[in-house]
């Protein structure tokens, strides 16, 4: 469903590259992990999928849609097909957990009835029903990330993009977050995740793309973390 065709991103007038000649594709319902050292280009790939960053050359397709040709006015609609989860959670600080999730639905133009029905459901899915009315600053890191995941899935996107979702979490919270992502994937949503947590990769036993200095050096269908 996502195709990268010979994509490069160059900086400083071509002297340094974030990613170089990247070609790969992601099939529906896959759970893909992208691993690599800091600066290997993992986040750049995710940013390009959500059209936050544009490649210098090459093409990116989301199904039949050329991502870089989406006019700016259509970007909000495009982004609603993709759920995003970040290392730093990116929750709205002045909204409660419930409101953060509801906001994503409101922005999508969902009705009040749908919001009242779906938000408690996803909160239950991430096991945060009793923290619904807490503000982000009152939640632990793991809880914040679970709110972020709930927000990412509430609009039933085709794909979840997770950039280092466990980067700021302790081992127990990491385990919980990965279990939730795995559950979401089993329910039929494609998940693309970057990480450099060896334990997470080895435990998942799913496809692993290994990157180094902007290039893909390894692509294993049931990979281990090897660097």
């Amino acid at each position: 469903m996502i195709y990268f065709d010979n994509v490069s991103k160059l900086y400083n007038g071509g002297r340094s590259a974030a990613i170089e000649e990247i070609t790969f594709q992601i099939e529906p319902k896959e759970f893909v992990s992208i691993v690599g050292h800091s600066g290997a280009g993992k986040s750049t790939i995710l940013k390009m999928i959500i059209a936050e960053d544009k490649p210098t050359s090459g093409q990116i397709f989301f199904e039949s849609l050329d991502v870089n040709r989406i006019p700016r006015s259509r970007l909000p609609q495009y982004r609603r097909k993709i759920g995003t989860v970040f290392q730093d959670f990116k929750l709205l600080p002045h909204k409660t957990a419930y409101e953060n999730i509801a906001f994503a639905m409101e922005a999508n133009g969902r009705s009040d009835e749908e919001i009242a029905e779906n938000v408690p459901q996803v909160l239950a899915l991430v096991d945060l029903t009793d923290k619904a009315w807490n503000f982000p600053e009152e939640l632990s890191g793991g809880e914040k990330q679970r709110v972020a995941i709930a927000r990412a899935i509430v609009n039933q996107p085709d794909i979840i993009i997770a950039d280092e979702p466990t980067g700021n979490l302790d081992p127990i919270a990491t385990y919980e977050v990965v279990q939730i992502l795995r559950k979401i994937n089993e329910l039929g949503t494609t998940v693309v995740m970057t990480t450099h947590n060896k334990g997470v990769i080895d435990e998942l036993g799913r496809r692993v793309i290994t990157m180094d200095e902007g290039r893909i050096i390894k692509d294993d269908s049931s990979g281990k973390y090897v660097l």
Binding site: Y78, H94, A107, N108, S111
Partner: protein
């Protein structure tokens, strides 16, 4: 459509309360800016009134000879009144002039005796002319000079026109009025520009603190209008509240200033404030709302790009 409008409204109000410190700080600064604009309006009104009063004290007098015919005087008065530059023409008859003279010098026995010695009223009729603006006296004076020049030598009407005596003081007054008006205009422009910049910067800072939120909203697929709306509403709320606060601060100051300005300028500024309140209210709150709205739109626009 209605649903998202309602959501934007609610989100704007909730955001206003939840970031109360930022809201308060913005309102405080905008209030000061609007207070400065309001004070400028009041000072300008005092200047306008006192300049008007100053102008009203200036006139040209035409003194007629004692033998001037009433018809000729009336004809001149009518033609003066027809001039576009003339604001008012006041006629004083010979009898009135005498009565005024007697009233003025009644304690001066020598003058009274001298007057009684005369069999006939020595005073001629006069016409006092006020122009609409100080600069127009020159035109009126030259019109009068023409009239005097056209008189038949054996039958004179006008004895004297006192413009020449007053010319210096009139042109000095004109210079003062021009200078005061220019200075007050420049001061107002400077203050208004300062108020606009202060408001814009304040709101820009308030929205700067929300830049992270704006980027998050974009990431979850919120449309630009959905993101911008609550900030626009908050800008309008800042403007309305600041406008009302500025008027509330102005009120006691004007109550206190009122009697003092009445003595000094002849205008009770508080009475003016009360009588023209709806205009002042609309102006201040309107400026506040417009500033708040435009500043919000411009400030959010920065973070909506990419």
């Amino acid at each position: 459509m209605i649903t998202s409008f309602r959501r934007v409204l609610r989100s704007g109000f909730v955001g206003f309360w939840r970031s109360a410190y930022v809201s308060l700080a913005s309102i405080f600064v905008i209030t000061i800016a609007l207070f400065v604009i309001g004070s400028t309006m009041m000072i300008d009104q005092l200047l306008v009134v006192s300049l008007q009063q100053l102008q009203a004290k200036v006139d040209i007098n035409v003194y007629f000879v004692t033998t001037a015919g009433q018809d000729d005087i009336d004809a001149l008065k009518t033609s003066l009144e027809a001039l576009p530059d003339v604001a008012q023409v006041t006629y004083t008859s010979r009898e009135q002039a005498l009565a005024e003279y007697r009233a003025k010098y009644q304690s001066d026995t020598v003058a009274m005796q001298a007057l009684d010695e005369l069999e006939e009223n020595p005073l001629g009729a006069t016409i006092a002319i006020q122009a609409k603006a100080v600069s127009q006296y020159e035109n009126i004076a030259s019109f009068l000079d023409e009239q005097k020049a056209q008189e038949e030598p054996q039958n004179p009407i006008i004895s004297r026109i006192n413009y020449a005596d007053k010319r210096d003081s009139i042109s000095k007054l004109q210079a003062i009025i021009d200078a005061v008006e220019r200075a007050s205009f420049i001061t107002q422009i400077v203050l208004i520009i300062a108020a606009i910049l202060i408001t814009f910067n304040t709101i820009r800072l308030a929205i700067y603190t929300a830049r992270e939120e704006i980027s998050i909203m974009r990431l979850v697929g919120a449309s630009n209008m959905f993101i911008r709306g609550p900030f626009m509403l908050q800008g309008v709320m800042y403007g309305v509240i600041a406008g009302v606060l500025a008027l509330l601060i102005l009120y006691p100051i004007l109550v206190w200033m009122g009697p003092k300005t009445e003595i000094f300028f002849g205008l009770n500024i508080f009475d003016y404030f009360v009588s023209d309140f709806s205009n002042i209210f609309i102006t201040l709150v309107g400026i506040g709302v417009a500033l708040g709205l435009v500043s919000s739109v411009l400030a959010v626009a920065r973070y909506l790009r990419v």
